[in-house]
Each structure stands twice: as structure tokens, then as C-alpha cells.
């Protein structure tokens, strides 16, 4: 048997995406240490990275970073293909779809704060859909929606502000701008 060598062509962009996803992953791990009053109410700090990547490098890269973060994060936490994974995935996918539209808002009037809020609402919508259609098909979960929506609004705003602040600190775009967030 001859040894076959699979050679993957790795571009600078791949490295860059991986770095960004790693930062997002770090924030996810950090965030899991924060206690939550209700499962599902989380700050979603990793989305700060998605927002910055979206503003700097466009939607395609942001989608890569976001989805890599979801998959790699689930491997890290050991919940790959479990309900928790699908909750993250549905939230991330719907957020990305909304961001695809939101990024076309006139940038003179709308900044990352708006993107973040829309994405946060989309995120919770995606999760509630999975919860309702698959996990808990009961209208009783409707009572929780206002809580989740409030959390989405608050954390969406905060994440957007943090993203804006990071981009301020490094006005000139460079690839490793948030490699050491501090």
C-alpha cells in the first residue's frame, strides 16, 4: 500500500479566520464561567468578534468565524450534536442571515450597535424555534420570551458598544488587530 499524502493548501486568509475563531472561542470559554440565572441567557461575548470581523472583512469571513466557533466550541465543551449544539447553531445561522441584510444598512446612520441588536434578536429567535419545534413543543415557553428578548436587547447593545470601542482603539485595519484583546 502506498502512503497517500493529503496536502491542504492553506492560505493566509485561512490562518486569519482560524485566529479570529480562536479569539471567539476564548471568549466563549470565558463566558461559560459566568453564572446565568436562566439557561440561554448569556452575554454572547464571542459575537463581538463576529461584529468586528463583519465590519472589517465582510460577511463571508464573519460567517466562517462564527460557525467555526460554534463547531469548535461544541467539541471543546463536549456537546457536539447535542441539543445545546443545535441551539448555538440555529442562533448563529439566523444571526448571520440577519447580519447579511443588516450590513447593507447605510453606515452613516447605523453602526455595529445596530448590527449587534438585530443579530441578538435573530439569535434568540433561532434558539426559540429549535426549542419550540424540537425540544419543548409547548406554548408555555412563550412566558420566557420577554426575558430572552430583554436579554438580547441589553447584551446586544453592550456587545455592539464593545465592538465599536475595539475598532476605535485600532483605527487602521490590520489582520491581527484583536489578537491580544486587553
Amino acid at each position: 500500500m502506498t502512503a497517500s499524502i493529503i496536502k491542504l493548501e492553506i492560505t493566509a486568509e485561512d490562518h486569519h479566520i482560524a485566529r479570529m475563531a480562536a479569539v471567539a472561542l476564548g471568549l466563549t470559554v470565558l463566558e461559560s464561567a459566568i453564572p446565568s440565572p436562566l439557561p440561554g441567557v448569556k452575554p454572547g461575548l464571542a459575537n463581538i468578534v463576529t461584529l468586528i470581523v463583519l465590519a472589517r472583512y465582510g460577511w463571508r469571513i464573519a460567517a466562517w468565524v462564527s460557525l467555526l466557533r460554534v463547531v469548535a466550541g461544541s467539541l471543546l465543551f463536549g456537546n457536539f450534536l447535542s441539543p445545546g449544539f443545535f441551539l448555538s447553531l440555529s442562533g448563529a445561522v439566523l444571526s448571520l442571515l440577519v447580519l447579511a441584510l443588516a450590513q447593507h444598512l447605510p453606515s452613516r446612520w447605523f453602526g455595529p450597535v445596530s448590527h449587534s441588536i438585530y443579530a441578538a434578536f435573530a439569535h434568540i429567535t433561532g434558539q426559540m424555534l429549535v426549542v419550540y419545534l424540537w425540544l419543548i413543543p409547548h406554548t408555555g415557553i412563550a412566558y420566557l420570551i420577554p426575558i430572552f428578548a430583554t436579554a438580547a436587547l441589553v447584551f446586544g447593545t453592550v456587545n455592539g458598544l464593545i465592538a465599536v470601542r475595539f475598532m476605535d482603539n485600532a483605527e487602521t485595519p490590520k489582520p491581527n488587530v484583536i489578537e491580544n484583546p486587553a
Partner: protein, 126 residues
């Protein structure tokens, strides 16, 4: 620092924030506001004993295995005002007002449930 942060919020962001707040408020109002009930369904021994409108103030006595449970309807609210059950859970539940609320007197097999014109799902009939 906070003032500098506020400057970074663009006009459209404020608009988004405003719309988001209104949206959340509407959601909370719609989902938490609850519907005022229209009628009371009284069950005894698992069967519907009577369905009465909440618009008429009255007292209804229901005979169960332990004795008489008395149900009072007043000002579009209903409660079980007396019951022979030992722990008195259903009496202590007090006035019921919203659709879906229910008081159960299990020992005497009497229940009082409020319903609107449209039946909502709950854990009892799901």
C-alpha cells in the same frame, strides 16, 4: 469614557434601540398580560359539573366524596371559598382571574378552572 462611548452610537443605532425596546415591551405585554377569563369550569369526580359565566356573582355548592366544596364568583373572579379537604390547598390559592388558572381540591375531587373563549393549551390538556 462613557460620554465618548455614547458619541459612538449613531442616530440609526438609537432608532434600533428604541424599536427594540418597543418590541420587547409589546412582547411582554402580549405574553405576560394574560387574558381575563370569561367563564369558570367546575369539575367534580373528573366530569364537568357546571360551566358558569364569571359575569354573574353567585355561590355554587359541589358535593364530593368528603362533603361540600363551595365556589364563589364575584366581580369576574372565582375562588373556592370552603372545602372539606384536610390541607386546604385549593382554598388558600385564593381568587382566580386569568385564563388557565386552576384550583384543585384533590381529596374532594373538585376543581375550578378558568377559561377564556378560546381554550389555551396547558399541562393538563396537552
Amino acid at each position: 469614557m462613557y460620554a465618548a462611548m455614547l458619541q459612538k452610537i449613531k442616530p440609526g443605532d438609537w432608532l434600533t434601540l428604541l424599536l427594540g425596546s418597543i418590541f420587547v415591551a409589546l412582547l411582554a405585554h402580549k405574553l405576560w398580560g394574560g387574558d381575563l377569563a370569561e367563564k369558570a369550569i367546575i369539575r367534580s369526580g373528573g366530569k364537568i359539573f357546571r360551566e358558569v359565566s364569571l359575569s354573574i356573582d353567585q355561590q355554587i355548592d359541589v358535593l364530593g366524596p368528603l362533603g361540600i366544596s363551595r365556589i364563589s364568583i364575584e366581580k369576574r373572579k372565582a375562588r373556592i371559598s370552603s372545602d372539606p379537604s384536610p390541607r386546604q390547598y385549593c382554598v388558600r390559592q385564593g381568587w382566580l382571574q386569568q385564563t388557565g388558572e386552576i384550583a384543585l381540591c384533590l381529596p374532594n375531587q373538585v376543581s375550578l378552572e378558568l377559561a377564556g373563549n378560546t381554550k389555551k393549551y396547558d399541562s393538563l390538556n396537552y
